[in-house]
């Protein structure tokens, strides 16, 4: 069972979430500040971080950035605010998905499971065992789940890696943001498509030569995104 680190300042919510997660068999560590969270990240070595954005002193966004500097652990934001802007900023800071509070344990569990899956359900059992494929300067190894650029491994967050694998598995095919939300993030409801946009932005910043003129993950205006074709 995945080990979960919960960073949440409200004690009642901490207790409630820990209770719900323990019920589902997770080993959970809960802390009340971002600073403690960063310490616990090293000490507890969680498989996933549940992060509240509204934290005293060090903000959730800052915590998110700090975690991303050193770790590729999946991060799911607990957003107390319906103000989408928070969610977007959190996603741009490197979070993989978000849950809007109040949320039942079942919803949190579903989000966590989706983030922890290394491959999109559609791709499970496809395309494996063929070794790394070379696309431009990128080398995508589907077996090892590693992406290299100029031979150097790229530190991709789980959602970024999953999105890249999904798009590159069907080169030059356009996927709508809605489709990507369902297939890559497994949002079974109408999620916020900006989740996709934020992730594409982060991914481009890591794989593209010029993120403003992307070659790998291209925007198809009015429809969505596609992988390639590379400009000649």
């Amino acid at each position: 069972m995945p080990r979960v680190l919960l960073i949440e300042d409200d004690p009642a919510v901490r207790r409630g979430v820990v209770l719900g997660l323990s019920r589902n068999g997770h080993e959970t560590e809960a802390v009340g500040t971002g600073e403690d969270g960063l310490d616990a990240l090293i000490a507890f070595k969680p498989d996933l971080v549940l992060l509240d954005l509204m934290l005293p002193s060090m903000s959730g966004l800052e915590v998110c950035r700090r975690i991303r500097e050193s770790s590729r652990v999946p991060i799911v934001i607990l957003s107390a605010r319906g103000d989408d802007i928070d969610v977007v900023i959190g996603l741009e800071a490197g979070a993989d998905d978000y849950v809007v509070k109040p949320a039942g344990a079942a919803v949190i569990e579903a989000r966590m499971r989706a983030v922890l899956r290394r491959l999109a359900p559609v791709q499970v059992g496809t395309d494996t065992g063929v070794g790394p494929t070379q696309v431009g300067d990128l080398e995508i190894d589907r077996d090892a789940l590693i992406v290299r650029k100029h031979g150097e491994e790229l530190p991709l967050a789980p959602s970024e890696l999953k999105l890249l694998l999904f798009l590159s598995a069907a080169p030059e095919r356009t996927f709508s943001r809605q489709q990507l939300l369902e297939d890559v993030w497994e949002h079974s409801y109408y999620g916020d498509a900006r989740l996709v946009d934020a992730c594409v932005m982060r991914l481009r910043a890591k794989i593209e030569e010029d993120p403003r003129r992307p070659a790998y993950v291209q925007t198809v205006r009015g429809f969505g995104y596609r992988f390639g074709p590379l400009p000649a």
Binding site: A12, G82, P102, Y190, R194
Partner: protein
């Protein structure tokens, strides 16, 4: 039919000014003309009578006592010769007899007047060649014995033209006209000037009023001068200031109320988050049979109501966002069929047992915020299933301009007194009715969501039974700068 008067202030002022000027000009000219004309004619007449009398006085004594016609003719000729610049023609009549001389004819009135008098008479007559003055002057005996001062029965008539005077009078009329034209021009100019003076502040007031109407409540006018218009401008400024004050106060109150609602929802979220996280665990235990029956009931009640409360707070937050204008559209090109089927699938509604869909064959692509449209459809279908009986009919028709979606049930319909209020927040159709399934905000949120798409949402009753809700969405929404 009355003649159409100009409606605008400027032409009205000009017309009034010109009328007044013209009238005063006319009166002045008429009076002046009459006075001058009379003065000229009187002088001419008096002069002529005086000259004639002088001539007669000097010539008549030469006449014999009983002059013959020849004597009289000679006398008349002598008078004619003495006329000088006056150019009269004279004739002499004896005892009302015919005229002897060059005077032509004289009117009977003049003859009768002079028949038995010793007074001089004259008359002005219009003649083919213009005006003429006729003078009748009885001749009296001069001081010689008993007949002195007695009328002699001779009457001298003189006819003289008044052409020179006519010319003078014409000149007068022309002068009067010539004076009228600049006076009228001056009247027009001063009217325009006055109009401008009056109209400029009026126009400024109008512009300012329009600005205030369009929401620029900080509009003020410069107050210059001391007349009534200035007072009006001042009053306008005062009114604008009062409006602005009230508006600011109302806005403040409204903003406070909104913020309060938003803050309340916010504050409720944290405890709800804690409760919601354990609600599933409560359900599990309550259904496991390990708890006493009444405890299990209580636990189930708590977890159910917790979910409802969470939903209600969610809806409140959504409404707060609409009120604050913070709700934004995330537009996507989606297929209508996909949107509808997703909505049914997510809610677990089955076709065709619960919902019958009639969608266009060609499956149009629509540019909408799919999440919001899903919320709207789910709300309408959910209501229809609750109030009517399954199946609910969802019918969509698309044209170039718009997409129309009807959601119809075959329930009892909406009572007439409720119909205008169905989209109100927390509206209870029946005051005594128990709390409905939803938050009481569902239709209000649906309405706001459709409005955000620049569309309309209406409710009506079908002719036979059941209610129908109609969504109309324009198909040309502004494109956002995103895929």
């Amino acid at each position: 039919m009355k003649p159409a008067l100009p409606r605008s202030l400027r032409p009205r002022l000009v017309v009034a000014f010109v009328l007044v000027a013209a009238l005063s000009e006319l009166i002045t000219a008429t009076l002046t003309f009459r006075q001058a004309r009379n003065a000229i004619l009187d002088r001419t007449q008096n002069g002529a009578v005086h000259d004639l009398r002088l001539q007669i006085d000097s010539l008549a004594p030469n006449l014999p006592n009983n002059p013959t016609d020849t004597d009289l003719r000679i006398f008349a000729r002598q008078l004619d010769r003495a006329s000088g610049s006056r150019g009269w023609h004279t004739g002499v009549s004896r005892d009302g007899g015919p005229l002897i001389g060059t005077a032509g004819d004289v009117s009977n009135a003049l003859r009768d007047a002079t028949k038995r008098g010793d007074t001089t008479y004259y008359e002005r007559v219009e003649h083919a060649g213009g005006y003429r003055l006729r003078i009748g002057m009885p001749v009296s005996y001069t001081g010689r014995g008993k007949e002195a001062g007695q009328p002699s029965g001779l009457v001298v008539y003189a006819v003289l033209p008044l052409d020179g005077e006519r010319a003078d009078i014409s000149a007068l009329i022309n002068a009067a006209w010539a004076g009228a034209v600049p006076a009228l021009a001056f009247a027009v100019v001063s009217a325009l000037f006055a109009a401008r003076r009056v109209l400029r502040p009026v126009r400024q007031l109008r512009t300012a009023a329009e600005k205030i109407t369009s929401g620029a409540l900080d509009t003020r006018l410069d107050v210059v001068g001391k007349d009534e218009l200035t007072a009006l401008t001042g009053a306008f400024n005062t009114m604008a200031a009062a409006l602005e004050r009230d508006d600011a106060k109302l806005r403040r109150m409204e903003a406070n109320a909104r913020r309060f609602a938003a803050d309340v929802s916010h504050e409720l979220r944290t405890p709800l988050a804690a409760m919601a996280a354990v609600a599933d665990a409560l359900d599990e235990d309550a259904r496991s049979g390990t708890l006493p029956a009444d405890t299990a009931d209580a636990v189930l009640l708590v977890s159910d109501e917790t979910r409802k409360l969470a939903g209600m707070v969610e809806d409140l937050m959504e409404i707060s966002r609409f009120d604050a204008g913070a709700a934004v559209l995330h537009l996507d090109d989606v297929s209508l069929r996909t949107v509808v089927h997703k909505t049914l699938h997510l809610r677990g509604w089955r076709e065709p047992d619960e919902v019958i869909t009639e969608l266009p064959e060609d499956d149009p692509r629509i540019r909408v915020d799919a999440r919001r449209i899903d919320v709207v459809l789910a709300n309408l279908i959910g209501n229809a299933l609750r109030h009517g009986s399954a199946p609910v009919t969802l019918r969509a028709t698309a044209t170039q301009e718009s997409l129309v979606i009807d959601v119809a049930d075959d329930g009892p319909g909406i009572p007439d007194e409720v119909l205008p209020h169905v989209f109100d927040r927390f509206y209870k159709a029946d005051a005594a009715r128990a709390r409905s399934e939803g938050s009481g905000l569902g239709l209000a949120i649906a309405m706001e969501n459709v409005r955000l798409h620049r569309g309309t949402l209406t409710a009506a009753n079908l002719p036979y039974s059941g209610a129908v809700f109609t969504i109309t969405l324009p198909r040309t929404l502004r494109r956002e700068d995103q895929p």
